[in-house]
């Protein structure tokens, strides 16, 4: 089962329902798109993330009503350094989509999704704790895994695997 090569570009993927829906709402919101191994990834402008999620959630055909997962990837030393990754699942249609937001290392903050999905609470706290990405308007943005007086964010690539000695 070898995979077809990945399709990249918003223009090439505008027939996908998800891309079409977001483009119809705001053409500037989707900065990049990729279909690789049958998984659709959309890069969203960071100021429009919350509206984009609401659009995908409220669209009568798509109905992405379940936030599966929130995590982050650190591309240190490249800039923009962080990519916050959201996995949405549509319970009615059983389809998945991956949303990504790129964040610069010196200004790593993005709007919290807790107003849409209260379940984003723990996931965002985990990303904050382990990567140091801030989520605006999060109700309780505190460390969740590490002790409160911990220094550094362990899942960053410049944090040694054995910790600082």
């Amino acid at each position: 089962m070898a995979w077809d090569s990945a399709v990249t570009g918003v223009e090439q993927l505008k027939d996908c329902a998800e891309v079409g829906c977001l483009l119809a709402w705001n053409a500037a919101a989707v900065t990049q798109a990729k279909l690789d191994r049958k998984e659709l990834t959309l890069w969203i402008d960071r100021t429009r993330l919350r509206e984009a999620c609401l659009t995908l959630k409220n669209d009568p055909q798509l109905q992405y009503n379940f936030l599966s997962d929130v995590t982050c990837v650190d591309w240190y030393p490249n800039e923009p350094r962080f990519e916050v990754v959201y996995h949405l699942l549509s319970i009615p249609t059983k389809k998945r989509v991956r949303l990504k937001v790129r964040l610069a290392g010196d200004d790593a903050s993005v709007d919290s999704l807790t107003p849409i999905w209260p379940g984003a609470d723990f996931f965002e706290r985990e990303v904050f704790d382990l990567f140091g990405v801030r989520f605006n308007q999060h109700p309780n943005l505190k460390r969740i895994m590490m002790p409160d007086n911990w220094e550094g964010h362990p899942l960053r690539k410049d944090y040694p695997v054995e910790g600082y000695r």
């Binding site: 998984e39 379940g119 362990p154």
Partner: protein, 401 residues
């Protein structure tokens, strides 16, 4: 983990509520969960889970290991469902590689996964009943669980940390006599489930403690990220085994138990019904298991048989290279979500084209499910918290990773 900060109180000036600390050494928190309960008399005003006591940084450790070395780490996340974790991880890596697993390997994986579900649900049922006060069920459940663990030991050499699945298949063909043992167990298991049910389902004390307790509305369950039996107990019809089939689940006939009541009793009914469905799936897997290899034909990824390694030079070279350098995985990223006994177990893996994963993230079902606890308990009595924790079936290894 907030144990270094002073205990929070909603409104200290009112002096009306009291903060009660529950855990992390409380027996009914199933490990090291700490709950801060803000109470007004016996009524819960607010509930604040405090987690992280079991955080071991598995995600970070994975980034320093070869792809095949990550498999034993996955056992330790959800230690009651090791095979399910193994499966989620290897499926994700196989998706990155574009590997196809032979039918026998897939059927074995399904069979062992359902045995894992039986194992996990038995521990849940026993401990949940014991939390509420029904001591006997625990002993019965652990009797059958012992049989399942013996089967695991037979097939993988380990009772709990099995690490039996490999990228590209399973470690070995099961030993002679394994299938007979499985059949023996699975044939008498329905009678065992009847036995548990006769102790609980119509038991007036059990019903009194569970019916109408810790109600969770379907909309809240979806919004809070609940999955698995916790979601299906609220009447949301989703099961990833049926809806997004993986590892050959499309070849099996099974029902997805649902209950619309949304209380502790409903979640109990759903899980007991799942035990029966899992029994049926194992039976189908036993009856129809195909012959053939258990590993994919991919010499650069799958370790060769010992016999070949000793007689063929090429096999020896591949063996040496995989063990010393690992195998490279093409660049890309995948998310693979499967139905674990607790809900959606997802692995998100980013590969940068080397032999070590750039990023491994586990979407742990217990971590997300824990968030529904506030909705379930606020405004209810302290005694119901124990029933609510039991009914969402959390594993702290899974929560903290």
């Amino acid at each position: 983990m907030a144990h270094l900060t002073p205990t929070p109180v909603l409104d200290p000036a009112l002096d009306k509520t009291l903060v009660l600390n529950m855990g992390p050494q409380h027996p009914s928190t199933h490990g090291v969960l700490r709950l801060l309960l803000e109470i007004d008399g016996e009524t819960i005003v607010r509930i604040m889970p405090d987690i992280g006591y079991l955080h071991t940084g598995i995600e970070k450790t994975c980034e320093a290991k070869f792809y095949q070395q990550v498999v034993p780490m996955t056992d330790r996340i959800d230690y009651l469902a090791p095979m399910t974790n193994n499966l989620a991880y290897v499926l994700a890596v196989e998706k990155l590689l574009g590997l196809e697993i032979p039918p026998r390997g897939q059927w074995l994986r399904v069979m062992l996964n359902e045995l894992t579900r039986i194992n996990s649900h038995l521990v849940w049922l026993g401990t949940h009943a014991m939390d509420i006060g029904a001591m006997t069920v625990f002993l019965y459940c652990f009797r059958e669980r012992e049989d399942v663990l013996r089967l695991f030991e037979m097939v993988s050499g380990q009772r709990m940390m099995t690490s039996y699945f490999r990228v590209g298949g399973v470690a070995l063909d099961p030993p002679i006599g394994f299938f007979d043992k499985v059949r023996d167990f699975i044939d008498r298991f329905p009678a065992n489930i009847d036995e548990y049910e006769s102790l609980l389902t119509n038991n007036p004390i059990w019903i009194e403690r569970t019916k109408g307790v810790a109600y969770l509305a379907p909309d809240d369950a979806i919004a809070l990220g609940a999955s698995g039996p916790t979601l299906r107990g609220s009447g949301v019809d989703i099961d990833l085994r049926r809806d997004t089939p993986y590892s050959g689940y499309e070849n099996f006939q099974f029902k997805v138990p649902l209950s619309t009541a949304g209380d502790v009793y409903a979640r109990y009914l759903v899980r007991v019904a799942e035990l029966r469905e899992s029994q049926k799936i194992v039976k189908q897997a036993l009856d129809g298991i195909p012959e053939g290899p258990v590993k994919a034909d991919a010499p650069h990824v799958v370790l060769p048989d010992r016999e070949k390694m000793k007689t063929q030079m090429e096999a020896l070279i591949y063996h040496f290279k995989i063990v010393t350098e690992g195998f490279t995985v093409p660049e890309g990223e995948v998310y693979c979500g499967i139905e674990s006994p607790r809900g959606e177990m997802g692995y998100y893996i980013v590969s940068d084209g080397t032999a070590k994963p750039y990023r491994v993230h586990m979407r742990a079902p217990s971590f997300a499910n824990l968030q529904v606890l506030g909705k379930m308990c606020e405004g209810r009595l302290i005694a119901d918290v124990v029933a609510a924790i039991g009914s969402i079936d959390i594993i702290l290894g899974d929560v903290d990773r």
